[in-house]
Amino acid sequence: MSNDVPVAALVARAAGDDQGAWNEIVGRYAPMVWSICTRYRLVGQDIEDVGQSVWLLLVEHLGKLREPAALPGWLATTTQRECFRVLRAARRYDHSGPPPDELPSSSDHALIEEEIIAAERNAALRAAFAELPPHCRRLLAMVLSDPPHSYAEISAILQIPVGSIGPQRARCLERLRRSSSLSAVHGC
């Protein structure tokens, strides 16, 4: 499946009967669901609980989303609500603590806004990266590795002259910048 299919189209296909479209939705937004869980300091089984609830709720709601294009927002707020549920379930036994907030605070809203923006940007960047020719992906992966490879190492592994690494890197980044996946984000 192409990486730059608009999310509304994926939702429509998944609401029909298209496991591939569903997998693409999960692959695209699972990092956001995960990230929100970790920002609420959930770990282990609690994250799994939130994850499975979020996806099962989405399965239930696929055909009922009022604005399929706003799926990232729906997923983010649903994930947040599920995090609160898990936190409440954990705390109900511990009567010593203060009652948890029922309503998200303004910083919770800010967190969700950030996560949505980051998720859209990250998904677009990953899609754009996936569209690059293999030699660009290899080169950029080496540049981005931690710890970073030196130009001498890159030259030895990819068998390209050291002097051409800089220009190639610049060309690959330019291709990334011009990719239709990134421009789709801009079009919003």
Binding site: A14, D17, Q19, W22, N23, V26, A30, P31, V33, W34, S35, R39, Y40, R41, E48, D49, Q52, V54, W55, L56, L57, L58, V59, E60, L62, F84, R85, L87, R88, A89, A90, R91, Y93, D94, D101, S105, S107, D108, A110, L111, E114, I117, A118, E120, R121, N122, A123, L125, R126, F129, L140, L144, R169, L173, L176, R177, L182, V185, H186, C188
Partner: protein
């Protein structure tokens, strides 16, 4: 307080992606995008993909709303007499399932009560079907050793499935 749990780092605007970023910024953002995906365990994504199996199945999800096993160590002293019993509650909009985990079995009751069957489905693929009696009670023996969920079918109402349970 929940709000104290949230870290709020700054995030650049989406509109900067193409036009406003030099190569170093673009690389930094790309690194972050790839890292965000690598941080996610493959099983987490797999669970999400598997959720599609419930598409077009007429069942309601009952979610965990109470678990006495949470914060177990901290609370162990408070419940020393009943240390071997773990209580869980799953609830959907119209329905709840109470579970009590004893040494060798899972005792449960559905609310509102009614006859039906309860199926324990393990992640490994095994299933055990147990009857629910007229006051809504059931007993699952032995306790499933791998994560499982319950699929409840009762006359005259929509099916209910719980989230995965690990005991």
């Amino acid at each position: 307080m929940l709000r104290l749990r949230a870290r709020v780092p700054s995030a650049p605007e989406v509109s900067q992606v193409r036009d406003g970023w030099n190569d170093e910024q673009l690389l930094r953002e790309l690194r972050e995008a790839l890292r965000a995906r690598q941080a996610v365990p493959p099983e987490f994504v797999e669970t999400g993909k598997n959720a599609y199996a419930w598409h077009n199945i007429d069942a309601e999800l009952a979610q965990l709303t109470y678990d006495s096993g949470h914060d177990g160590e901290r609370c162990a002293a408070m419940r020393s007499e009943t240390a071997s019993v773990r209580m869980l509650t799953f609830a959907s909009a119209h329905f709840s399932i109470e579970l009590e985990v004893t040494e060798g079995s899972v005792l449960g009751q559905i609310m509102p009560p009614g006859e039906g069957t309860i199926e324990a489905q393990t992640q490994a693929g095994g299933t055990t079907v147990t009857p629910i009696d007229e006051i809504g009670c059931f007993s699952i023996e032995p306790i499933p050793s791998s994560p499982f969920r319950l699929h409840c079918r009762a006359a005259g109402r929509i099916d209910v499935v719980t989230g995965w349970i690990t005991l």
